[in-house]
Structures are given as structure tokens and as C-alpha cells.
């Protein structure tokens, strides 16, 4: 996406669109068919950060493309942060925290079921 002037959110969204062999205009048409007031121009503005994307965009993308769990998580993350402060450092830290917290919950679940976890697992809780 370098050179297209996309925000981080725009990069993630565009990658999903292209992975479906679709396009921004095709997405806009499908969204319109669902009753959303999306146009190719508005989608283009959202991915470039000219205007903030609407809150329902990730949900509409899920309806149109049937996002995988990984895609949904990444698009949600990019939507939440990629429009305003697209720093890779923040996103890396958030991903690291999410991985930590996922492991923490998993280790607690195992402990509650009497399963012994790995030493040092999830040891950064404050």
C-alpha cells in the first residue's frame, strides 16, 4: 500500500477487499444493497483518512466478506487505532498485550480445570 496514502486502517481494509478479488466500489455497491449509504468515493476517503470511517464499517465488511476471526480482530484493531494514530509501535504493544492476556486467561482456565501450565506463563499482571 505504500504510495497510496492509506492509513493503517485503510491498508488492512484494502488487503481484505483484494483478498476477496473485490474492489472498493464493489464493496460500496454491496453495502448499498444492505441499506448503507456508502459510495466508492466515501470508501476511498475512509481508507485515506480524509474522513473517519463509520462505526458500522467493520460490521458491514463482516457481512459482505464473512471475515475470519483473525481478519475481524485485525480490522477492529485497525479501525480503533489506525485512523487517528497509526503508529506501529502502539499496535505492536497492543498485540503483545493481547497475546499476554489471552495466555493469562488460558492459564487460569487450565488451572481451574486442574491442568498444570508452563512455568513463567502469564507472569506480568500488575
Amino acid at each position: 500500500m505504500e504510495g497510496k496514502g492509506y492509513t493503517y486502517f485503510g491498508e488492512v481494509f484494502d488487503r481484505i477487499v483484494r483478498s476477496r478479488r473485490s474492489s472498493q466500489s464493489a464493496f460500496a455497491r454491496k453495502a448499498q444493497a444492505l441499506g448503507y449509504d456508502y459510495t466508492q468515493s466515501s470508501v476511498s476517503n475512509w481508507v485515506r483518512g480524509v474522513h473517519g470511517a463509520p462505526r458500522d464499517l467493520p460490521t458491514v465488511a463482516d457481512v459482505v466478506y464473512g471475515l475470519t476471526e483473525e481478519e475481524w480482530e485485525e480490522l477492529g484493531l485497525a479501525y480503533a487505532y489506525g485512523q487517528r494514530l497509526p503508529t506501529k509501535e502502539d499496535l505492536e504493544d497492543i498485540r503483545e498485550f493481547r497475546e499476554f492476556y489471552r495466555r493469562l486467561l488460558e492459564s487460569e482456565r487450565k488451572a481451574s480445570e486442574g491442568i498444570v501450565g508452563e512455568p513463567g506463563e502469564a507472569d506480568r499482571e500488575g
Partner: protein, 139 residues
């Protein structure tokens, strides 16, 4: 409500005061370590507001950044704080009222009252809604 867990985390960006996620079995607030107590308390109350009203805040994750001025204040943070701030931090309300009488601008009130700016906005909006906010100089 499933309960909210608070975990300290060392985000490299010190302007990032917190990160809230509800797409786990238990909602979580990762709060920047070494945050001053007022800032941390404000983020905790904000996260409690998000956790209690998922239909009002439809996203599943949110990063919370410190605001340098009123224009940078996150409207969602204010919405989350307004219903609970007077009940949970009545002393903040009094401090904001006192400083508002002198300054009448949000940034100055936040500085002198030592209350996070998003909480100041929430308090002032509540006061305004009830007609309790002095807005003219001829009071």
C-alpha cells in the same frame, strides 16, 4: 456485566494511558504503568462505563490517549464518565467547580484542579445539563 480486570502494562508511547478490550471472556483495561493516580482512576471509570454499556459503545477495543487540550478529548470517554463521575469522585466535582469560578476554560481547570481533562469535561457537561454551571461573568 462480566466484570472488568485491570492490568498494568508498559506501553512505550507514554501518551497511551490505557487500552480497553471486551472481546475476551473477561473485559480488560491495560493501564499504562506509572500513571498518576488521578489519570489511572479516570481510565478505570471510563472502562467501567464501556463495560457496563456495550450497546452504547459498539466497538470491542479502544486505545485511550492523553488529551493535551479540549479538542483532543475523546467524546466516548466523556460519555462513559458522565453517569458515574459524580457518584464516584465527588471531590473532583468540587475541585472543578472551584476552579471553574476562577478560570472558565477547561484546560486551566484541569491543570489547577488536578483532574484529568476528559473528567473535567464530563463534570462540566453534567453541571451544565442541570443548569448549575456558571457561564456568565456577571454572577
Amino acid at each position: 456485566m462480566r466484570g472488568l480486570r485491570v492490568v498494568e502494562w508498559g506501553f512505550r508511547n507514554k501518551r497511551m494511558e490505557g487500552y480497553f478490550a471486551r472481546d475476551f471472556d473477561m473485559a480488560v483495561l491495560a493501564v499504562q504503568e506509572d500513571l498518576r493516580p488521578e489519570a489511572r482512576r479516570a481510565r478505570e471509570m471510563e472502562a467501567e462505563g464501556y463495560d457496563e454499556r456495550p450497546s452504547a459503545f459498539k466497538w470491542r477495543q479502544k486505545a485511550c490517549y492523553t488529551a493535551a487540550n479540549v479538542l483532543e478529548v475523546d467524546p466516548d470517554a466523556v460519555r462513559a464518565l458522565r453517569p458515574r463521575i459524580e457518584r464516584e469522585q465527588p471531590e473532583w466535582v468540587e475541585r472543578v467547580k472551584d476552579e471553574w469560578e476562577s478560570f472558565r476554560d477547561v484546560e486551566s481547570v484541569a491543570f489547577w484542579a488536578e483532574v484529568p481533562i476528559q473528567a473535567v469535561v464530563a463534570i462540566l457537561l453534567n453541571l451544565e445539563e442541570r443548569g448549575e454551571l456558571l457561564v456568565n461573568d456577571d454572577y
